[in-house]
Symmetry: C2
Subunit: 415 residues, 2 copies
């Protein structure tokens, strides 16, 4: 099964926004074995949308069109699809009713052209809209005697994603005679490069490639860590979950030491949960990261149950005067330990993670750019660690955040 | 002049990476009046690359191909272009020499297939490589009797951008008989919505649209603010700069109150510079933003000359015990003022920006999500301000950062 992607919108061609929709769709398709061999951006121009759809459908079994379903005269996807199908548009009364109710329930007057969104090519099936006013469309079309299909979905990413998962993927898989339940599970890892994980998982990857189901993919996510995503197809959700659990265990068998969480877990949510479980409060003392660790911890709703605060001691005097660090060079394990002890006193908490280091552009006190010294105080016990991280200023600081949180996680698990 | 874009790489179709190249190229083209009406992603497949190039060149005057210029057997752009041109590949000895020298100078053995990168379609002109090993190509091609051109550039964004600016844009403009110097100037703004700026600049936009040069574009950049970019074409750099200065003054005449910087200025770099000019040191007291303001201030190299540190007083007790805030509800202008005064004492600095507010998901002490109270201490003088910001947790926190830094900037300018 081959389903290409057409993203509609002049603003995409002008570079005013990035087309991330076709990337996301390509990723979903790859996970379930659907080929997507051409992905095209085209402007809000009737003739060109028709030409692109016609040309793509000469080779592909299906095409998914993102965008151009809004209420204005610039939104031409419905008309273009009708032209490719060789049919008229007619008003779908059910769709019209939903749109009118949506405006009524918000107490807003409905501009007349919103009913353009209820215009549907004859023979097409609307995909009910749950998030916006624009319904999607499933449009069967015969090209040179072969039955093919055009899907239309909104260009707003969260509306598009919900509709693709709910209606388009199941329809595509049904047409290709495939099982209809698709589930993914993502293992969140830190501490090993993508090529390193790849090498360690080689035996599993070979077996999965022979089987074809589930699939395994690596997704690099910067300072969110590296994700290992398993995607399974099965007749039922239970079967898909069984398959995922079997292979999750196989993967963990080879790289358990790198896995810090699953699916929506983040390094910061996992650390906060470990502390919550232990009834411990958290404080920070940041120098090199200058508040980034605190910013990330407080991005988790409910962080306030565990997190008390951070002393961002950027100037050396703040380290000496407020945290009681002994005067001297400040990029050392001894300083990290003293910062952790000092912040525990000042903030009145059980656990402190302290960071000092050199982000550059210049070295400091003879220590090279990339040096990170971490101090972890768990009650009266203090652990320290030094590392050399890669990258320029921004990358070094971001790597310091996840690396030090991972050290705290490991220390909590071991204590 | 119409130049379409083809991005080559199976990893793009699989969604492993986002194609940001074609967006960037579209933006550059729009600024100088070149149309880009189709942008296509295609995999590493010789037949499909040839088919896409042929199809695009049926309508466009030119096409720029990104990617597929590497040394491996997967890199097929050179061969595909030669097929479209109907010519053979031959080795360009100058290009080969540069590649061999590059390896020799790094003391590394050159794998044989790197010389694949010196293979050039007969009749094509290489674009010298300055950042990687892959040269670009300018390939004249006759389609149905009309002279057209294919450009090939690397897929690595920074190599691509450098080559497009240095070689492709000037060549395209020369072919269209246009002036060859293009310069941009960006005014950085905060405090007005995109539609608001648009409305205020309407008279200028109309005049510029009639003139066609320079062009004006709005670029939304989240918590970096809104950019107004002017792009001028002229025969010389001096003429282009004169044109930019004339229109920069026109734009400032209508929206001066929103402009905080130019080009590479950021809100944080501007604030740090204002403080440096006044010989003042900066401290922070953050609650709702939990370290994000400090993280952003310290992203600027050299911030340590001005910035002393931040007290991230997330728990109320830290506000009371460390900053001396009077006990009571903590989302108020009085608390923001007390935090600013307290942090000035604790951190020993001239100026403090303090933030307290409600990021959600739940309201706090009867104050709704989105409430932000800012306190600014400049020596013994304290200013406060309350605002209601839009958005969910993340957006509210990010808006708080730039909004409060802008308040500090305005207060410094007025004091």
């Amino acid at each position: 099964m081959r389903c290409d992607v057409v993203a509609v919108g002049t603003e995409l061609l002008l570079g005013q926004i990035t087309d991330t929709n076709s990337q996301w769709i390509g990723e979903q398709f790859a996970a379930v074995g659907i080929d997507s061999l051409l992905q095209v951006k085209v402007g809000d121009n009737h003739g060109r949308i028709v030409a692109v759809l016609t040309s793509v459908l000469a080779d592909a079994d299906a095409v998914i069109v993102c965008g151009g379903l809004g209420p204005t005269h610039d939104d031409l996807t419905r008309e273009a699809i009708a032209a490719v199908m060789g049919v008229e548009l007619h008003r779908d009364e059910q769709v019209a009713e939903v749109i009118m109710e949506m405006f009524a329930s918000r107490g807003r007057r409905m501009p007349d052209n919103n009913l353009r969104q209820a215009q549907v090519p004859v023979g097409a099936t609307p995909i009910a809209q749950t998030r916006g006013t624009a319904p999607g469309l499933i449009c069967p079309v015969k090209i040179a005697g072969v039955e093919k299909v055009i899907y239309a979905v909104p260009g707003v990413p969260h509306e598009m994603k919900e509709m693709v998962e709910r209606a388009v993927l199941p329809d595509l898989l049904a047409r290709s005679g495939e099982a209809s339940v698709i589930l993914s599970r993502t293992l969140r890892t830190w501490g090993e490069s993508e090529s390193g994980l790849n090498e360690r998982l080689d035996p599993i990857i070979d077996r999965l490639e022979a089987l074809g189901n589930p699939t395994l993919a690596f997704l690099a996510s910067g300072w969110e860590g590296l994700k290992i995503r398993l995607t399974a197809k099965a007749a039922t959700a239970q079967d898909a979950n069984t398959l995922l659990t079997t292979w999750e265990n196989e993967v963990r068998g080879l790289v358990a030491d790198t896995v810090f969480g699953v699916d929506d877990d983040t390094m910061e949510s996992v650390v906060l949960q470990l502390l919550r479980d232990r009834g411990m409060s958290l404080g920070l003392a940041e120098s090199v990261t200058g508040g980034l660790v605190a910013g990330r911890i407080t991005s988790v709703p409910g962080a306030s149950e565990v997190f008390r605060g951070s002393i961002v001691s950027y100037a050396s005097e703040v380290k000496f005067d407020l945290l009681g660090v002994p005067p001297g060079p400040v990029v050392s394990e001894a300083t990290a330990a003293a910062m952790a002890r000092g912040a525990r006193q000042v903030l009145g908490c059980d656990v402190v993670l302290a960071l000092t280091g050199v982000a550059g552009p210049d070295e400091q006190d003879g220590m090279p750019v990339g040096t990170l010294c971490v101090g972890i105080a768990i009650r009266d016990e203090v652990h320290t660690r030094s590392l050399r991280l890669p990258g320029q200023r921004d990358q070094m600081r971001q790597m310091s955040v996840i690396t030090s949180l991972d050290l705290l996680r490991r220390t909590l698990l071991a204590s």
